[in-house]
Each structure stands twice: as structure tokens, then as C-alpha cells.
């Protein structure tokens, strides 16, 4: 197969199966040139992607969670990494008198914020998920390139990614949580936030990171589990 044909086929992979069949078949039937075929497939892809953005959902996922959450979650990840370095004294190799409960609550909070953010991202806008993922990864790359803390691996910045990816995965599968699970998650997040405030002082940013948990409560299913529905 020629390069042009391979390019058209590769681009067409981004279309849904039936549409890909119809479009490639139509172009084969009318004998489109490679240039026209690339132009046509790209045009259709752009129109399809553009149509998704008529809804509020991709905007919320991309600019309400993915991009703005990346910076504070990276900051929180680094803070957690720095704190974990203080658990053991490197000189004596013994446990220091660090408040382990604070470390644990920070870890749980980071997990909860990342997971709920990822879940909402995955559930509200699966078809534009690649844009949200890109908007989340761009700040990560920016910060990774500028990371300058001795004794701490730069990959500590990405501690939040694992629960976030798990959240996205669950969000794609389940769309919404049951009311009980969502309430439990939201109240646990608030409780952990308040505990953190008591020790380190209040921060409105911490509260802002909790909104996906409350969104999950607002959209929770009263049925046991909802599967197989599609977001925008």
C-alpha cells in the first residue's frame, strides 16, 4: 500500500467503525486522489470534534478540571513527596517524630481529589477525553522540565496521575456513582480538607479541588450502578 493510502487509512481510524467503512468506501468508489481523501477525512474529523464542543461537558472537563487541577495537584504531590522524605531521618535511619496522620490524610486527600477529578473528566466527556488529557499533560511537561528540588525525584510531581487515570477509567465505565458511594466520597473529602485546614491553615484552593466530588453527588444514580451510557 502506498504512503498516501496508509495515511488516509490511519486518519480514518479516528472515525467510528461504520462511518469509516462508509467514508473509505465512498472515496474508493469515486476514485478520490490521495490529497482529496486526506482533505475529506480531516474535514470530517474536525467537524465531528467540533460538534462535541457544542455541549458544556467537554468545556467543563478540559477547562474546569484537566487544566486548572494539574497545577495544584502537582504542588500537592510535591508537598507530599517532601513530607515523606522527613518520615525517616537519613542520618540515623530511624523514624522521626513527624505527624504520620498528617502525611496519611494528605495522601488520601490527593488520591480523592485526583480520582474524583479523573472520574468526572472520563464520565462527562469521553469523546473529547484526548483534549482533556493533553491539557492535563501540558502543565506536567512544563513543570517536569523546570523541576529543581534536590533529594526529590521530579516524578514526584506526577503522584496524582495514577489515581487520576484510575478515576478516568472508572468514569468511562460507570458514568456515575451510586448516591451512597458519592456521598461517602464527598464527605470524606470535606472531612480530610477540614483536618488539613486545622493543621496547616484554611485554603480556598483545597475547597475548589473538591467540587468534582460534589458533582458526583449531584449526578449520582439512585440505582445500584449505571453502565453503558455515553457522555458527550
Amino acid at each position: 500500500m502506498k504512503w498516501g493510502g496508509m495515511l488516509v487509512d490511519s486518519l480514518a481510524q479516528l472515525l467510528e467503525r461504520d462511518e469509516r467503512e462508509a467514508v473509505l468506501g465512498d472515496m474508493a468508489e469515486t476514485g478520490e486522489s490521495t490529497r482529496q481523501a486526506v482533505w475529506n477525512v480531516c474535514g470530517l474529523l474536525l467537524r465531528r470534534q467540533g460538534a462535541h464542543w457544542n455541549s458544556w461537558r467537554p468545556w467543563i472537563a478540559a477547562f474546569g478540571i484537566a487544566f486548572p487541577f494539574s497545577f495544584p495537584l502537582m504542588g500537592f504531590s510535591v508537598s507530599l513527596g517532601l513530607m515523606s522524605l522527613q518520615v525517616v531521618d537519613p542520618a540515623t535511619r530511624q523514624m522521626t517524630n513527624l505527624d504520620v496522620s498528617l502525611l496519611l490524610s494528605k495522601f488520601l486527600l490527593l488520591t480523592a481529589w485526583s480520582w474524583t477529578g479523573g472520574f468526572v473528566m472520563g464520565s462527562v466527556s469521553r469523546r473529547t477525553l484526548w483534549v482533556s488529557a493533553l491539557l492535563s499533560l501540558l502543565p506536567c511537561c512544563f513543570c517536569l522540565a523546570r523541576f529543581r528540588i534536590e533529594d526529590l525525584s521530579r516524578f514526584c510531581l506526577l503522584l496524582f496521575l495514577l489515581p487520576a487515570i484510575q478515576g478516568v477509567h472508572q468514569g468511562l465505565r460507570m458514568i456515575r456513582l451510586t448516591l451512597g458511594s458519592a456521598m461517602l466520597l464527598a464527605w470524606a473529602t470535606i472531612l480530610l480538607t477540614v483536618l488539613l485546614w486545622i493543621r496547616t491553615g484554611p485554603s480556598i484552593l483545597n475547597l475548589a479541588l473538591s467540587w468534582p466530588a460534589w458533582y458526583l453527588v449531584a449526578t449520582a444514580s439512585t440505582k445500584r450502578r449505571t453502565r453503558g451510557q455515553y457522555g458527550a
Partner: protein
Amino acid sequence: MLGEFEYLLITAAAGLGDEGYGAAIRQEIETVTGRKCSIGALYTTIDRLETKGFLKTWMGDATPQRGGRAKRMVRVTPQGIRAARDFYETVARASRGASWAAHHWSQL
């Protein structure tokens, strides 16, 4: 009310009857208008019209001249026919007295 391209698409699909599918409709629109019709415009409009209930589509058989790929068959629904008729009547009413339509009306 339908848009211009939506009307052209419904008219082409209605004219093709049971033989209506993507490439044939595209060809018909290009012949009638003398303009290129992009596949993107065609398929996004087909989807929009199907959502409105004006078209019904389904995957047809694969043929050798299409590289063994299936056709997306298109049929105009009764609602689609009504919408096209409304569009046509509106344009015809609006065009009465227009200088460019005078020749046409004098022939009717």
C-alpha cells in the same frame, strides 16, 4: 426550517429512492449545484437530519468497486418530506415578485 444544504441533501436522497447512499447523494448534489460537496459536510448533515427524524440510515452491503466496504444507505422519512415541502413552499412564496424569479413564474 431546513437549511439550504439540508434541503439539497433531502431532495437528492428522495430522488435516489432505495439507491440513496453517501457517494450517490454527494454526486447528485455536485451535479445539481455545480459545486464540490465535502464528505465532512455530507455526513455531518446526514447525522443532523437523522437526529431530527428527517432521514433514516443503515449500513448496506459491501461491493467490490468500494474496496469491499459497506455503504451507508439513506432514506427520507415522511417528516423529512414534509420539512422539504415546507422549505420549498416558503422559498417559492418568498420569491414571488422577485426579478430573478419572474421568468420562472411566468412559465407556470
